[in-house]
Amino acid sequence: MSHWSARITRRKLLQRTAVGAAAATGVVNAPSVLRAQGSAVKLGVLHPVSGALSYSGQQGRLGATIAIDEINAAGGIKALGGARIEAVLGDAQSTPEGGNAEVEKMNAAAVAVIVGGYSSSICLTASQTAARYDLPYLVDVGVADNIVTRGLKNTFRFGPGFGVIAKTALDNLVTINDQAGKPAKTVMIVHEDSLFGSGLAKLLNAQLPERGFQVLETIPHPTPTRDFNNVALKIKTQNPDLVIPADYYNEYVLLARTMQQQRVRPKGIYSVLGGAASSYKFVKEFPEAAQYIMDCNHWFDPRNPKALALKKKVEDRGEFYTYEVFMNYSCILLVADALERAGSAERAKMIAALESSTFAGHVMPYGPTKFVDGQNQGAAPVNTQVLGNDIQLIFPQTFATAKPVFPVPPA
């Protein structure tokens, strides 16, 4: 054995790998002078900032870093003597394996909590890996119900799960239709053929007939799809009252534009977690195609001044105020509140602090936070509609900024 290898002890190796990993993951917001004081709390901020989900991931990272900057500017975590928050940024590369690798690095970098994940598949595996290290994991968006039903003590979800979203979406659809005098009776579903779209289509096919709607046809398509002419033609021939798309952003936009192009005008387009319908980007770029589309999705509380201040801040940066931004922003504030109450960045104490959270300083229409088995009980989606050049909240009435326009007025 050489002189060299004999000198590498386990502890040294761990230290070195940890430092290396931290450097590789990219520690930001940490000027060397401040770091020298040794009073920073590290937070893992995990998003798919490259690959197929890169846009959503970048938006999520934006929301999280804005929140961290605001907390640091306001004097850091007071319970820890004004400790600054250091974001350990991770890129899940739009794959579960990529997410896992980042969790390992973040664990080595000794983060107190990991926030993010975005897609259900990344959240599922990343939270599981984090559970091995008793590392608290706060899911930002991932809606798959089983994220919080696996009995993992470390995993929390601030936003609503798929079951709640689907039920709310259907209840609200019935209410909106009833209020308009039941103009919609027939439905066509267009969905992408992976877990998200297929799952939703299956659920809709089971639930819609019970609620008095007839499903004329269900059309699956792969992601990515770059031609929706056939789909638009099918919709045109069947002429349903309502079209329900379940797609990711690019396909959603393309479908809406192709329908517009082929002059297909159903009485309404209603989506559940519609990739584009609650997106200012879509509304700004293709206002005509987006007009009157309704969506049941994550949305900020439009009466909350903090939510509007964040909106202005994001728009001033030339970015779009998407749900990834305000959900991640809220998640970081939630973690900061837990740090204040725990008075420590220790993982067990953080898990306890999150479990007992009653945080209400977020920007979502949820009310105070209350986790039961990791799921925030107040979390719920709302209904939005594209009206004019803006997105209005149309349901529930307590938060509404406009009345629904349904059926769509003739061109």
């Binding site: 490259s50 690959g51 197929a52 890169s54 590369q93 739009s94 053929d193 059309i219 699956p220 398509h221 792969p222 990515p224 799809t225 770059r226 031609d227 002419n229 056939n230 789909v231 033609l233 099918k234 045109k236 021939t237 690019n250 534009r257 517009q260 192009q261 082929q262 002059r263 770029e285």
Partner: protein, 290 residues
Amino acid sequence: MLSLTILVPAILNGLLTGAVYGLVALGLTLIYGVLHIINFAHGALLTAAMFAAFFAHRLLGLDPYLAAVVLTPMFFVLGYCLQRFVIGPAAHGEDRNVLLVTLGLAVVIENMLLYAFGADTRTINLDYAFRIVDLGIAFLALPRVVGFGVVLAVTLLLWLVLSLTDTGKAIRAVAKEKLGAQLSGIDVAHIYAVTFALGTACLAIAACLLIPTYYVNPHIGNAFVLVAFTIVVLGGMGSVTGALVAGLFVGVVESLCGLYLGESLGQIGIFVMFILVLLFRPSGLFGERA
């Protein structure tokens, strides 16, 4: 479901898509017909051309149709150099080496693009991308109609070049009888490179026609090249007209399968057809009988 209001537009859309398939296949069939090699790098070169068209628009603000004017000669030169200085010398005159060299080239190009630009799927937005041509019986997307016209023009031009010019005659001579052509003073290495360059230039045009309505990522070429292989076999290996006609045919088959079997299964018809052609008419529709 068999109503004409839906069938006619589906067939027309299929023809428009098929034209671009035909152009990609044209390059492939030309290279096969003359060099007698299957160019495995065809898909990767198409991907490279699509990235070039994408960045010409993103960075220089160049409209894809204008970019075609610049990119086509550039890819012609690229193709010439690849055959003359890389594939030709590396093959040492052995056809099976060419196969491996082009395959290697494909791996290198694709991974270089992956390394440089990541796996992201990119699209560009153009004002005219969603303009339509109203035929009364169908609404057709303007960029696809333009694409169709350009493909017809390119095919005609290529056919004229091959029939009338000296280089064209030399290309046909080499394709028919390499040794004989060499004996009559034709520089075979040069003609090989010119043919490869023509095939690559076709890809640059196809890329510029695709980019207004399609997306680009480092693996996009594979989707086209598989279809292009089918077209080359269907049309008859080495036949220019065959490639175009078979391309149109394949486009319609894909569109109708998409309509009746669902978008997820749209391409199944193409490959079923591929197997049938191999079984019953291996020389293709326009191919010379072996």
